[in-house]
Symmetry: C2
Subunit: 429 residues, 2 copies
């Protein structure tokens, strides 16, 4: 059933960002009688936890992305806007857009997420793309596949070796997952298809400045993951910060390694919500918020998800993962409903950690619930079923399940496309 449109005089909530936090909030406010405007600079919500599988040729782009306005097509109270927010006029209670127009709000929620952080070396971004958008994923996919193609035609051994060396910087879940699948691609999928190179001799480097992989997991699971990566042939370099990235290679500490494909999975920085508001931020740029996730002194402005610095009970920041973002969206939904109803505010936000998951290639995974730790194929099945469950809609669940089933039984990857290497910009009238 379509929901009736709210009156034009209804309280106007503007939500910026349709990631996990923003989406949860708008869903939870169904029937609350608000006028909601949901702004995103993309037309799609992206299931980021599986983005690395697009980058590594297992899934198609459309299997993990959904048009935002389709998700709310029956919600007459929700207006979706494809637009880029450039700032907030908190005094005037309006949001500024890149085309110089403005949108007035009664309540504002900033859920604008995070981008990569190159720790002050922004020139590395073009050389070592991170993995946040569909374009990031197809860029990494294109560069990785092109490196194999160019290696096949390269006669100089050193240049060929550099083309067959893949560096993943940062050994958190994304780095571990990327390195594992790149190794499988090189060593199991591609080797039979080339005539002049042996892709099984490709080097996959997973470079980490810290002392172990998956630092957020218990040490025993880190050790298991490291051993699983070793078995896949990934060279795990621990305690080795990257000091330089160039077009022809990376410098790890003092050692230069020729390498033509580099992926950045090392650090993220919050989007500029705190700067827009002129409020304090932590070192990663995340906006400080109070117990209700309000910006300081601004009860009509909330900041949630990866762009907010939300402390847990033990003082640690809430991790930048999908369940944390969803919980924050749900909390702000409760606060807004209580205020509209003139009821007392709900208890302060409290993050409930549900667990950490990561996969290593096609058959190993680690799951840490705190009270229970899983590894091996049982963790892998748990990981797979959980991710299928959290996808949106039957169409994507069947499509992703089919792609995984196919990869599992055939050993082939379905989405090995080199696309969008050069393009002209769209004309403007």
């Amino acid at each position: 059933m379509a929901e009736a449109a709210p009156s034009p005089a209804a309280h106007h909530l503007v939500v910026v960002g349709a990631g996990f936090a923003g989406l949860q909030l708008v869903r939870d406010l169904k029937g609350a009688g608000l006028r909601i405007t949901l702004i995103d600079q993309r037309n799609h919500h992206l299931f980021q936890p599986l983005l690395y599988q697009v980058a590594t040729t297992i899934l198609a782009t459309s299997e993990i992305a959904w048009p935002i306005r389709r998700l709310f097509r029956e919600r007459e109270d929700v207006t979706t806007l494809l637009a880029e927010v450039t700032g907030v006029d908190a005094g005037g209670r309006q949001v500024l857009l890149s085309d110089s127009s403005t949108i007035a709000y009664d309540t504002l929620v900033l859920a604008t997420g995070a981008r990569h952080s190159y720790f002050g070396r922004d020139e590395w971004e073009a050389l070592a793309p991170g993995l946040k958008t569909l374009e990031d994923a197809t860029t990494i996919r294109r560069r990785m596949l092109l490196a194999f193609e160019q290696a096949e035609r390269e006669s100089d051994p050193a240049a060929q070796q550099a083309l067959l060396t893949f560096a993943v910087i940062g050994a958190g879940p994304t780095g571990v997952e990327l390195a594992g699948i790149i190794a499988e691609l090189a060593k199991e999928v591609l080797w039979q298809e080339f005539r002049h190179i042996d892709t099984r001799k490709a080097r996959i480097l997973l470079i980490e400045a810290g002392p172990r992989v998956l630092a957020a997991f218990p040490a025993s699971l880190s050790d298991y993951a490291k051993a699983a990566l070793d078995r896949l042939g990934v060279e795990v370099l621990l305690g080795r910060p990257v000091s330089d990235i160039r077009t022809d290679g990376v410098t790890i500490g003092e050692e230069f390694v020729g390498c033509r494909t580099v992926v950045w999975a090392a650090g993220v920085a919050a989007s500029p919500a705190a700067a827009w508001l002129g409020t304090p931020a932590d070192r990663a740029g995340r906006a400080t918020v109070d117990a209700n996730l309000n910006a300081p002194g601004r009860p009509e402005i909330f900041v949630i998800g990866d762009t907010a610095a939300v402390p847990t009970a033990d003082g640690q920041p809430v991790p930048g993962i999908a369940p944390a973002a969803k919980q924050q969206g749900a909390h702000v939904g409760r606060v807004i409903r209580a205020r509209l109803a003139g009821q007392p505010a709900p208890p302060p936000f409290r993050y409930r950690h549900q667990g950490n998951l990561a996969t290593i290639g096609k058959s190993a995974a680690v799951v840490d619930f705190g009270w229970l730790q899983l590894r091996g194929w049982i963790a892998w099945w748990f990981w797979g079923i959980a991710h299928i469950f959290f996808l949106i809609g039957a169409r994507s669940r069947v499509a992703v399940a089919w792609s995984w089933f196919w990869t599992f039984i055939s050993g082939q990857h379905s989405a090995r496309l080199i696309t969008q290497g050069r393009k002209a910009p769209d004309p403007k009238p």
Copy 2:
């Protein structure tokens, strides 16, 4: 079973282009004892008959494209090369590549296909993209979806109407198929999702200089297709050549129509195979060939597929469709086998026309076998089953069948992504 690699001294066949013609040839030469090098500037073979469904958000890119080298991974006699051919040194029997390297051949087959032709108005290309590559399809998809998004935010009624006007130029099968699905998208899929515009009021213009749609079909099927387009709300403009295309609209005869999305389905021009060889070509640039599909006076060079001008028995050129390309590839395979075996040449190439197919939206289609004509839902089912059958591999068949099934039962399109609007080029070492 993997095929044994041929001796380095074996006859070297170079095939340029892995479309339907080149692919069929290489497949048919399995076990012929040749050394085969298959060159394409893309890493994938593309199932072009369904490309319009990528442009119109029904199928994902990877559902209709397969890595070329995967198709021949068990053929040790086949080397796949991702490279751009820039010319042929017919005297020296070598192919020239864009990186200034060369590849020597004993026999050469040029199967390089066709691109759009703008009849001398090349400046129209940026304004009215055609539909030949995956990038073409995602460009059309992006511009079409962005037009709806911009219309939602546009306050000027004339500008809004221009954003909601979509022009398809050329009413052959591609134009008819595009216009039909764009109409369904606007009138059935999207209307519930926008708050400020009624997408059902979008104008979809199908502009044709000739007197009827689907000129290659019998007049009765053209009439049926026209009526089906009328029912979908497509405005079919016949006998109306386009005289100008600008960023803000198209001029049809003398009449200017404000319009921000234009798709070109009007004409194709052969790739420059004839120019590379310095041999005669017809008006569309297609190289003249003899009864064996050899370039004139060059028995070691064949030209096949859309880049060749092959006459049928009644003097008409062979149409630029997949079955014709495959038949030519198969014929050259027979000629090469006969020559290698020292046997007499097979009978001259003779095109066997199997029929023409086109769909109009989700439930109408026309099929013309010559001896039998089908229309309506029976033609639509025939069309769908035939296309599923001709896809490569179980993975794509299931994926495409699922996408179609989903579109059919839900009325939703799965691949409504706006991607790749702006990008930086990959760095070069």
